[in-house]
């Protein structure tokens, strides 16, 4: 099975957040990056499928040069080769909305004719949660999202999908297909020294975004339909709210919070 995994390099989850001078994104100085969490699970699923059924795992990532580190990490964990859709700087890709980026990705993997395309459920930074599903539409493939487990069944796949509130569902679909993977269902392997050393010899095809666009003008970001205007820090900081009063009062106050703020009742 030939599997493509789309991975994204995102700011470390606990990165210190300062807004940059353009008010459009955070100041990236001092920020460390890592592989988007659900993408790491997608990669893990792909590697497990390869181990069980053979085949090839190819990772694709769109991002500036720094994303190369995350690509190498994926290679070190066992991916066979990589496609790096490289932007010339931090801002080039910002001119694209989710659809625009997905178009670039689709163009860069189209020729691979993979049996399966996996993406993470959503990115930890922009949180749009759409790239995989859009890719499916662009590539003309069926998809399933929020997938926890993939089994090969006959000519196709049987996948476990998470529904809300502790419900699940199996979905059968034929390959080629696109799946977006939910975090947390398997244990992630760790990168090893041996993996890193082997990764050095693996192929990373670098495609400059500009070159790709030049070859197909329809990919140009002339007018993204969704435009980010500005970012702001939220007012509320997380802190402990102590609920006082008699046990009954405190309990009532807590239930109200659970009902209207945490919204779990």
């Amino acid at each position: 099975m030939k599997i493509i995994v789309a991975i994204k390099q995102v700011p470390e989850r606990d990165a210190r957040i300062r807004i940059d001078s353009g008010n459009k994104w955070i100041d990236l100085e001092d920020v460390e990056f890592s592989m988007n969490e659900s993408d790491a699970y997608a990669l893990e699923e792909a590697l497990q499928l390869k181990e069980a059924h053979g085949g090839e795992v190819i990772v694709v990532s769109a991002g500036p040069e720094r994303a190369g580190k995350t690509i190498r990490e994926a290679l070190a964990k066992g991916a066979d080769r990589a496609i790096h859709l490289q932007s010339s700087d931090e801002t080039e890709l910002a001119a694209y909305d989710a659809l625009g980026v997905a178009r670039l990705l689709a163009a860069s993997i189209q020729d691979e004719k993979a049996d399966l395309v996996l993406t993470g459920l959503q990115s930890d930074d922009l949180g749009l949660g759409q790239t995989g599903v859009i890719l499916a539409e662009l590539l003309g493939l069926p998809h399933a999202s929020l997938i926890l487990k993939i089994e090969v069944a006959g000519n196709g796949l049987k996948v476990l999908r998470e529904l809300e509130d502790g419900w699940f569902q199996h979905i059968e679909l034929a390959t080629p297909a696109v799946l977006t993977i939910q975090s947390g269902n398997t244990k992630l392997r760790y990168a090893t020294l041996m993996g890193i050393k082997k990764a050095k010899t693996k192929e990373v095809r670098v495609i400059a975004v500009a070159d790709l666009v030049a070859s197909d003008p329809s990919l140009k970001p002339t007018a993204p339909s969704v435009v980010l205007d500005q970012v702001k820090l939220p007012h509320k900081q997380r802190s402990t709210q102590l609920l006082g009063g008699s046990p009954a009062e405190a309990a009532a106050a807590l239930v109200e919070k659970l009902q209207f703020e945490v919204r779990v009742i």
Partner: protein, 323 residues
């Protein structure tokens, strides 16, 4: 003619609460633009649930109906909704941000060469749409450019459902042209994880108990609270060490790592080995008689008090709200 089209979602044989919130968002948006609101539900025109639609009165309620839509599939819903949009020609399409919407709405938007603005938490003049980035550490505002249709999904809890208004709306059946070959996935029956296997990691609410409970005989106290909240019972290590609860229920560095929506820590001091197992919880509530217990450092809400008084009071309060 322009309009705002709001999709409502039926779940567990009712129109879900978040659908009302999306509807409120749709009305707010429509009011600012001075355009009418239409609603759409995948249902038969005679479905009694359509009669439960309340809040501000919409212009039309479309009942999208086709046998191929009885079980949700992304392909079926995408095609059906696309046809309705072509038919109704709204300027804005508003969804509740549910798992189902996440599954097909991006696909639908792509059919119109658009990007869904997902998980919107606020709508401001412009219209500008607010959503969160970096897991809530940043708010961003977006606008939609061009004159094409714009797709939005509304985050749960971001809008308050409108109070009911009098008035009635005609239900207009919409029968999309669907073909079984368009549907490429075969969905199975939804099921719940079996009750036998304890899986703390997928439980949305955990009631976790620590050494503060003192004796095994006191466990029913927290069990009752867990039942009232439809929560799973979890514990700190001493409780499992003592054999009062099985090992699978231990949260912490040598037990499970959990990240529920709500984690209620009862009589747990908050040792580091425990914290690392539950630090990813979205909301932490601590009940402890020691106000200096480290668990309060990571709690969103805390009650300093005797658990033997607080927990029964809490159980009563939860039951009252739920009934």
């Amino acid at each position: 003619m322009s309009s705002v089209l709001v999709f409502l979602e039926i779940k567990n044989r009712e129109i879900s609460r978040i659908s009302w919130e999306a509807m409120a968002a749709g009305h707010q948006l429509a009011a600012s633009l001075g355009v009418p609101v239409d609603l759409a539900v995948v249902a038969n025109r005679d479905n009694p649930l359509l009669q439960t639609i309340h809040g501000k009165v919409p212009r039309t309620v479309y009942a999208i109906d086709d046998p191929l839509l009885h079980d949700y599939t992304a392909d079926g819903y995408t095609t059906a909704c696309a046809q309705l949009i072509e038919h109704a020609k709204p300027t804005y399409v508003v969804f509740p941000h549910t798992y189902q919407v996440r599954d097909f709405a991006p696909r639908l938007a792509t059919r119109f060469q658009q990007t869904l603005i997902s998980d919107v938490t606020g709508i401001e003049a412009g219209p500008a749409f607010t959503r969160q980035l970096l897991q809530g550490k940043l708010n961003a505002s977006y606008h939609h450019s061009g004159s094409e249709v714009c797709f939005l999904s509304i985050q749960a809890g971001a809008f308050r459902a409108d109070a009911a208004e009098a008035g009635s709306t005609a239900v207009e059946p919409f029968l999309p042209k669907l073909d079984a070959t368009q549907i490429r996935t075969k969905p199975g029956e939804p099921f719940r994880a079996s009750a036998q296997t304890v899986d703390l990691t997928s439980a949305p609410i955990l009631v976790s108990v620590g050494r503060g409970i003192k004796e095994e005989a006191n466990l029913p106290l927290v069990q009752e609270l867990a039942t009232a909240l439809s929560a799973e019972l979890a514990a700190s290590r001493p409780i499992c060490d003592a054999g009062w609860l099985p090992m699978e229920r231990q949260v912490g560095s040598s037990g499970q790592t959990v990240a529920p929506k709500l984690y209620l820590a009862i009589g747990i001091s908050g040792a580091i080995q425990h914290l690392v197992g539950m630090k990813g919880s979205q909301c932490v509530v601590a009940i402890n008689k020691d106000e200096n217990a480290p668990i309060f450092e990571v709690a969103d809400y805390g009650i300093v008090g005797d658990l033997f008084e607080v927990v029964p009071a809490l159980t009563t309060a939860v039951r009252k709200v739920k009934s």
